[in-house]
Amino acid sequence: MPELRLDRITKQFKNKIAVDNVSLCLSEGVYGFLGANGAGKTTLLRMVCGVLKPTAGEIRCNGTKIGKLDGDYRCLLGYLPQDFGYYPDFTARRYLEYLAACKAVPRDLAREKVQEMLRLTGLSCDQRNKIKTFSGGMLRRLGIAQALLNDPEILILDEPTSGLDPKERIRFRNIISSLSKGRIIILSTHIVSDVEFIADEILLMKQGRIIEQGTVKEVTQNADGKVWEYLAGPDESLRLNETFSVSNLKNEGDKVRLRIVSDTCPCDGAVPVRPGLEDVYLYHFEEVSEHVDHLERRTL
């Protein structure tokens, strides 16, 4: 079982620091990287894949630098990039067979593996169709199929569910869950529900840094006392909605039930409730309206 160790990884593009001094140790399990667009998730994952070289720091796999392992490291790797690239005129099967060859899957095994992956991702019936005829969901599934071709021990999926409808998203989650045994799966997303139920560990990224790390339970526990529920009248609900981060808003008769994320009690009568991962995400990433800048916000 591989162990990935990231030691003070930094990536700087001209004047912008995309990833700032990130240190992590990853072993078997599903790791969900959550963060807003531009948080540095993709840059970090590209460095883990060896596509980008860090400006500073090093990545080691089982104690050896990945640059030194070179092809042996890539043998362990399955990668689905954020912008999944494909050849429009290739058929799904041809594309997978080509990538199986690139991944050095033995020829006899490759055909078997391609068929297995096509079955797993529900693309068997479309294997002879050109990829340019595929829908967004089919493309993502093809992306997952190619990432799994070499039975990778380290599976890196960057925004794998973007553009998928809810049914496809659930299907994808189930595929990932079924694969999680004996692998490191790194999943980057800004969609909380993608990782909430399947990730063993959540890593929140903001401005190139890991600001929170732990199991869903640990991460949400840290937000205890920061999430409130309050039944407000229409005018009051409007005011609270403008003043605080509201993670949910539900009409109940002539009143509105608000779920508010705030360090302090937002108003008299608000009751603390158990936070969810979405509340934690909102706590960290929701931009606060200008007129409530005076409200002091602290990190958890």
Partner: protein, 368 residues
């Protein structure tokens, strides 16, 4: 590995524009040869022949005079057929292959307007020594080479145009991977940062060499079908494309094998350069434009820039030789009358550029 090579070849060859270009080019060559053949005219003993029959008659006529070219043979041809000229009224050629050859090579024909046989006379004195004597001094083996002269002209045209088509095919090789965003996936695979890149380069190389050989073989076939094998053992300096001053193989067959070799060398060099440009550009279209500019730059240099060059003669000469070693000129560099040592230097330059371009493209793509 075989699968990667095969798929890389498929990626290149699935570009329809290449096949359209090749088809149009070879169709043009065929139609031009057909036109040349049907309009071919010869006048023998007052009888005018046209088309394939005229070619056959000229070939038969030449058989009598083939072999070592001597003054006696020239005189005999003149005595039997006179000088070649153009009919002033119709503009048609009045003559056959034999008297046309002696008129063009041994008389002042090119200094006249070619319509008055009275004006035409054998060169004399220094004019003879400078422009005609070498054909007798060099013990030239004479035969019917009209078709092979045309072949040489067509070869130049086809190679220059074919290289443009090859650029369309191979310039996107690496750039397309960046553009389609497949580069990231490929470079995270076991072979994607090593053997996979070499397979891509090898596929491009195989494609360019195969297409160049294919085009040459096609040209050979159509010219052999029309003109036959006669003249292949004649001296190469009978061809207007071959210069007597630089390196030139002994016979016509040797000459064509030599320029075919130069054509293939040019195709390999083109691949090396294209691979580097493709690895440098993140966009296929940009790679294509840049490639065409680099391909045609030596033409610009030879015709414009070298006359404006501020450097001294030595640097200018080195740059010019370098330009002549580039793909646009290398296959046709026999026309530059270069000695064999210089040709070896040009081929070595091409080899170094190819190796350098290929190596740099590998590293550029691997680490981009």
């Amino acid at each position: 590995m075989w699968t990667i090579w095969k798929e890389e070849l498929y990626k290149i060859s699935s570009r329809k524009i290449i096949w359209l270009g090749v088809f149009l080019l070879l169709a043009f060559a065929t139609i031009r040869l057909y036109g040349e053949c049907t309009h071919y005219t010869t006048v023998i003993d007052g009888n005018t022949y046209q088309g394939p029959e005229a070619i056959r008659k000229d070939k038969e006529l030449t058989i009598r005079f083939r072999g070592l070219l001597t003054l006696e043979k020239i005189r005999q041809i003149y005595n039997e057929y006179g000088f070649f000229y153009y009919d002033a009224d119709t503009g048609n050629a009045a003559g056959n292959y034999l008297n046309r050859f002696i008129t063009e090579e041994f008389t002042n024909f090119r200094q006249t307007d070619g319509v008055d046989p009275e004006e035409i006379h054998f060169r004399k004195g220094a004019d003879w020594e400078n422009n005609s004597a070498y054909l007798l001094d060099r013990k030239v083996r004479f035969d019917y080479v009209y078709g092979w002269n045309d072949f040489a002209e067509m070869y130049v045209l086809v190679i220059v145009a074919l290289f443009v088509i090859l650029i369309l095919g191979i310039a996107p090789s690496f750039a397309e991977e960046y553009q389609l965003k497949t580069a990231d996936i490929l470079r995270t695979t076991r072979r994607g940062k090593g053997a996979g890149i070499w397979m891509k380069i090898l596929a491009a190389l195989c494609f360019t060499v195969t297409l160049t050989c294919g085009a040459c073989i096609y040209l050979w076939c159509i010219y052999l079908a029309v003109y036959g094998v006669q003249g292949l053992d004649a001296s190469a300096i009978l061809l207007s494309f071959a210069t007597p001053y630089g390196y030139c193989p002994e016979n016509v067959l040797g000459f064509f094998l030599y320029i075919t070799f130069l054509g293939i060398s040019g195709a390999i060099l083109l691949t090396g350069i294209e691979m580097l440009i493709s690895a440098l550009c993140k966009n296929s279209f940009l790679a294509l434009i840049f490639s065409l500019a680099v391909y045609l730059f030596p033409v610009l240099w030879m015709n414009v820039l070298r006359f404006m060059c501020p450097f001294g003669q030595t640097i200018l000469s080195h740059i010019t030789h370098f330009m002549v070693s580039m793909p646009v000129y290398l296959p046709v560099s026999t026309g530059f009358a270069l000695p064999s040592e210089q040709m070896v230097i040009h081929l070595c330059t091409a080899l170094i550029v190819t190796a350098g371009g290929t190596y740099m493209s590998y590293h550029r793509y691997r680490n981009a």
